[in-house]
């Protein structure tokens, strides 16, 4: 489709008037599709590692396995709560969203900061380096020409080194490894570090 055709398609959206239901549905489905792709990509990766199943995910978020199948099979209208449950159930958080200005193509990362879970969980510096930090500044592109980057940003957010991925959090996530004790140990570590910092600052 030519760029003029794209402008035609977007004219209703950019004109400032009422946006037709068809265009709204188009963008709704695109968003649902992007979320669905992230879910499938992550689940597929965990599945290939051989340590995660549909049944395990279902148990972790208190749903039936058939429901998991339905959610993953089609980019439907999942609530934000359900999306969060699915990702957390797989050991991840959907942290930020990339907004794309349809008129200019400029991108905006929201929020433009991220919680350093690795540091909070007490991972050492070496392990932290394995994380690919999201871009801190919104990237620019020419109008409507950088849609590829949108998909890459989702992929990048999932591109962790699996050998180190949330290794300190696994103790919390895996019931078999004693989540209570692991969590307590991590909290103690965090508390110790926090206390140490405060003492140091006061001194």
């Amino acid at each position: 489709m030519t760029s003029s055709a794209t402008q035609d398609f977007l004219s209703d959206v950019l004109s400032g008037g009422r946006i037709p239901g068809g265009k709204l549905a188009y963008f709704q489905t695109r968003l649902a599709g992007n979320v669905n792709q992230a879910m499938l990509k992550l689940f597929g990766r965990l599945e290939r590692q051989g340590n995660f199943t549909r049944r395990e995910l279902a148990q972790r978020i208190c749903r039936k396995p058939e429901q998991i199948t339905r959610w993953f099979s089609y980019p439907g209208n999942l609530t934000l709560g359900t999306v969060s449950d699915i990702f957390v159930g797989m050991g991840y958080e959907l942290e930020s969203i990339t907004l794309v200005d349809l008129a200019t193509g400029k991108r905006l990362q929201c929020p433009d900061h991220h919680v350093d879970w690795a540091r909070l969980a007490g991972l050492d510096d070496h392990e932290q380096e394995s994380f690919v930090a999201p871009p801190s500044e919104p990237r620019q592109r020419t109008a409507l020409s950088g849609q590829t980057e949108h998909h890459e940003s989702i992929a990048t957010s999932l591109r962790f080194d699996q050998s180190n991925k949330h290794s300190a959090l696994r103790g919390w996530l895996r019931p078999s490894s004693g989540p209570g004790k692991a969590a307590e140990a991590q909290l103690q570590t965090m508390g110790t570090r926090a206390s140490g910092t405060q003492i140091g600052q006061e001194a």
């Binding site: 037709p20 265009k23 489905t29 099979s73 089609y74």
Partner: protein, 180 residues
């Protein structure tokens, strides 16, 4: 003449049109060709807002296929799972459908594969049109009619070519998976 050349001829004749992405950026990794009737449904104008929503959702879903997104598909016999694309029945010669489920009632776009990752859309149907208006139940005769329509359109477009055949979902679609 190869099936690609046949498709190119049909496009030149105006009997098929290539579906492009409304929002450019990601390159097309798969191809969809559709008869003008299907393209008109996708492009509008639409008679009602509800119908427009169906069409908008359908376009977004088809563009996801074009971009090469991971597609969850169904091949018989697991008929109870709602997937993006499904082979209706191998007994009816490789007729597939894209299933647009939101908003409800959805719409179905029927067609066949010319080769791996190349889908030819032949007809579309409102989901409720498969139901018997008196009972509200799915009417198998209406399904059969649309399948026959799909095969008829294909035979008119490609009289000497059978649709692509395969034994697994991956034969038809790269980067596809069966339901989780």
């Amino acid at each position: 003449m190869s099936i690609q050349a046949e498709i190119a001829s049909r496009v030149a004749e105006g009997r098929l049109r290539a579906l492009g992405q409304a929002m450019p950026g990601a390159p097309d990794k798969r191809r969809i060709f559709a008869v003008p009737n299907v393209i008109e449904m996708l492009d509008g104008p639409w008679p009602t807002s509800h119908f427009g929503r169906r069409a908008g959702a359908a376009r977004a879903l088809l563009e996801s296929f074009l971009r090469g997104d991971e597609i969850v598909g169904r091949m018989p016999p697991s008929k109870d799972v709602h997937t993006v694309i499904a082979l209706l029945d191998q007994a009816i010669e490789n007729v597939w459908e894209f299933r647009i489920g939101n908003p409800r009632p959805g719409v179905r776009i029927l067609g066949r594969f010319a080769e791996q990752d190349t889908f030819v859309a032949t007809n579309w149907v409102n989901r409720e049109d498969f139901r018997d208006p008196t009972t509200g139940q799915d009417d198998s005769r209406r399904w059969r009619d649309e399948v026959v329509r799909c095969k008829t359109v294909w035979n008119h477009l490609f009289p000497s070519y059978k649709p692509f055949a395969g034994s697994t979902l991956h034969d038809f679609i790269s980067n596809a998976r069966l339901p989780v």
